[in-house]
């Protein structure tokens, strides 16, 4: 099943890529190929990959039928029930990125870390608090003052 979704996505991607390639304006001067030729080859290559996948799907389903006949359990879906957890972490990370410049590195990072450590390192409040705040403060000063990396100060005065 999962492989079929990949196959569909691959074909859609190839289509979108071909369409986007056609949108590139061309001025063919001195360059016999221009900016579109290589991308077109890639589009064809991706379709080739899709065909290879189709062959594999057919072959695997034949194999699965054989083993089902023998009464073996297929190991088909490796998906488990915790996608929503990953979605939640991704959303929280997106919130962090949105707040990164307006709030500044120290505040956004400390709150991001605090929420995640509280959720995944349970019942150790003091440890989580200290790590989140100290990491944000120390790394901010280490990177901006010592290593010359610019991090956003945000609403804090330093």
């Amino acid at each position: 099943m999962a492989d079929r979704i990949i196959l569909a996505c691959t074909v859609v991607l190839a289509g979108v890529y071909f369409w986007a390639t056609a949108q590139i304006p061309t001025l063919e001067l001195g360059d016999p190929l221009g900016p579109k030729a290589f991308p077109r080859m890639l589009g064809v290559g991706l379709l080739l990959g899709a065909v290879m996948l189709l062959v594999e799907i057919i072959r695997n389903s034949a194999k699965a039928r054989l083993s089902a006949d023998k009464g073996e359990v297929s190991d088909e879906p490796k998906w488990d029930k915790h996608h929503w957890l990953v979605v939640a972490i991704a959303v929280w990370t997106a919130v962090y990125i949105i707040a990164f410049e307006p709030l500044g590195f120290i505040l956004s990072t400390a709150s991001y870390l605090l929420a995640l450590t509280v959720a995944f390192n349970r019942k150790r409040w003091l440890m989580n608090m200290l790590t989140s705040v100290l990491f944000a403060v120390i790394s901010y000063f280490m990177f901006t003052k010592l290593l010359g990396v610019n991090l956003p100060p945000g609403i804090l005065p330093f």
């Binding site: 991607l13 360059d31 991308p39 972490i89 990396v149």
Partner: protein, 502 residues
């Protein structure tokens, strides 16, 4: 003769106090990255590139290379004490290494890993020293057509050898090449696929992609494991951190063989450290007088694979340094690092910057000595890293990734990219789509397109330039074989088994 002078001069370069310090920093970070789950050498190197930007390239590359081979040392510690490889290539070590630890011989397992890694790592660097010059002088004759076909071969080999499914490898490779086409086309000045985002005109940087795929995705996976309660606890080091005479006698053969297997596999594109250690494991099991001990704490099952995956790193640097074409994901990240520092690896580098090349290669002899000290007498310090609660470690990895990504351009676009590629990496992992081919083709994509177009300009638009020379024909044939083989093999096997039945 001239080469010998260059090599000796390289020792002068790598023994400079400054470079010794960066070697030490590199292998120290490598060991830490190897021990810690959740962040591997590829992400570690990528994260350091923006921070070390502007450093002397020789020192910076010595340090990044130290991370690359140092991580293999650290990876075995985690494999032995937790049974999860701290680094992908230690996966075989986690079988017998963990069984040894359970039987109270963790000390011996750690000792044989460190000693085997040292011996095999040094064998690898000697091999690199010997093979570098002849290969580089051969590559001097390469034109754009040869380079194009060489990169094609590297990509096809990686895409069909890294994962279970060659088709998914090919799809990942092309996806990486497509990402590489985003940005301004260097020859026509035309913007391609920028979707109206000004930051995309310079292309999607490989640093953000690597950090996303290797660090962020690993965080998602790790946090999910915590929630499911499947993350394991570290064992204590038991037994003396040294080998008995009998253990030593059993290990020395696997170490040598592993060292040689690893180097050869490393030089070839596609296979990489994981396959090298699997091959060493099966070789030792077949040669052993007591194969039934394998899987139940056979010291050969630790000594061989651990040696193989360490000499593999030196082997993998051969094509990177001499041809400028990496044969796997981690060396692709190294190539990206070279380019970021304005250094183009390849045959010309041996002529123009012998000090850099040999300083870098020779620093690996020194680095291996440092690593055996860090990983044997000082191992206790690094084992403590395993007691850091993962619920704190993974969130910190996100924060470090964010700092590294923001340091590139000071733009939140790069932060969005690491998040997006983190999700892509997580999904790819669930779907068994390998990410190493994606990284390789992303880094090589730009160069590949340029050499293709240069070749076509030379030939006046005729494709025959790609099958005019013996080198291009050989490389093309090898590319076709590496794609076709996984499809033809089952058919051949079927024919073969039918022959047996009759």
């Amino acid at each position: 003769m001239e080469t010998l002078t260059h090599i000796l001069n390289g020792f002068v370069v790598c023994m400079q106090p400054m470079n010794l310090w960066y070697t030490f920093l590199g292998v120290l970070m490598g060991t830490i990255i190897g021990v810690l789950p959740g962040i591997g050498p590829s992400a570690g190197i990528a994260l350091l590139i923006p921070i070390t930007y502007g450093m002397n390239p020789t020192s910076a590359l010595i340090m990044l290379c130290g991370i690359y081979y140092g991580a293999k040392y650290g990876g075995s510690t985690t494999a032995i004490l937790i049974r999860t490889p701290g680094e992908a290539a230690s996966v075989m070590t986690s079988i017998d290494g963990y069984e040894m630890a359970r039987k109270g011989r963790a000390g011996a397992a750690l000792a044989v890993s460190a000693i085997g890694s040292f011996i095999a790592g040094t064998i690898g660097v000697i091999g690199l020293t010997l093979f570098a010059v002849p290969l580089a002088s051969m590559a001097l004759k390469f034109g754009p057509a040869e380079y194009f076909t060489l990169m094609l071969f590297a990509m096809t080999a990686v895409s069909t050898l890294t994962g279970e499914s060659p088709a998914k490898g090919v799809i990942a490779t092309i996806f990486g090449l497509m990402i590489a086409t985003i940005g301004i086309d260097l020859q026509s000045g035309q913007a391609r696929y920028t979707m109206g985002i000004p930051e995309f005109q310079d292309g999607v940087g490989f640093v953000v992609v690597v950090v996303g795929l290797f660090a962020m995705a690993e965080v998602f996976r790790g946090l999910e494991d915590i929630y499911r309660g499947t993350s394991a606890k570290a064992m204590k080091i038991t037994g003396k951190l040294w080998l008995t005479k009998e253990e030593w006698q059993r290990s020395i053969g696997p170490i040598w063989r592993g060292g040689i297997i690893g180097f050869v596999i490393g030089v070839l594109p596609g296979a990489g450290g994981t396959i090298a250690s699997i091959m060493s494991y099966t070789t030792e099991k077949r040669m052993s007088k007591h194969p039934e001990e394998f899987g139940h704490g056979a010291i050969e099952g630790v000594a061989g694979p651990e040696s193989a995956n360490n000499s593999d790193t030196a082997g993998a640097l051969v094509p990177l340094l001499t041809l400028g074409v990496p044969g796997g994901g981690a060396t692709a990240v190294m190539l990206g690092a070279f380019i970021m520092y304005g250094v183009q690896p390849g045959p010309l580098l041996f002529q123009n910057r012998p000090d850099l090349v040999w300083g870098l290669i020779n620093s690996m002899y020194v680095g291996n000595i440092m690593l055996v000290i860090l990983n044997l007498p000082l191992i206790g310090l690094f084992v403590r890293l395993l007691y850091i609660p993962v619920g704190i470690l993974y969130p910190l990895i996100v924060a470090i990734s964010v700092i590294g990504a923001y340091a590139i351009n000071g733009s939140t676009v790069d932060l969005w990219l690491i998040l997006i590629f983190g999700v892509i990496g997580y999904v790819f992992n669930k779907l068994d789509i390998p990410v190493a081919p994606l990284v390789l083709s992303l880094v090589l994509g730009g160069i590949m397109e340029q050499s293709f177009r240069q070749a076509m300009t030379i030939s006046g638009g005729e494709l025959k330039i790609f099958y005019n020379s013996g080198i291009t024909v050989t490389l093309l044939a090898m590319s076709v074989i590496s794609v076709a083989l996984p499809f033809v093999m089952p058919m051949l096997r079927k024919l073969g088994s039918k022959g047996d039945e009759s």
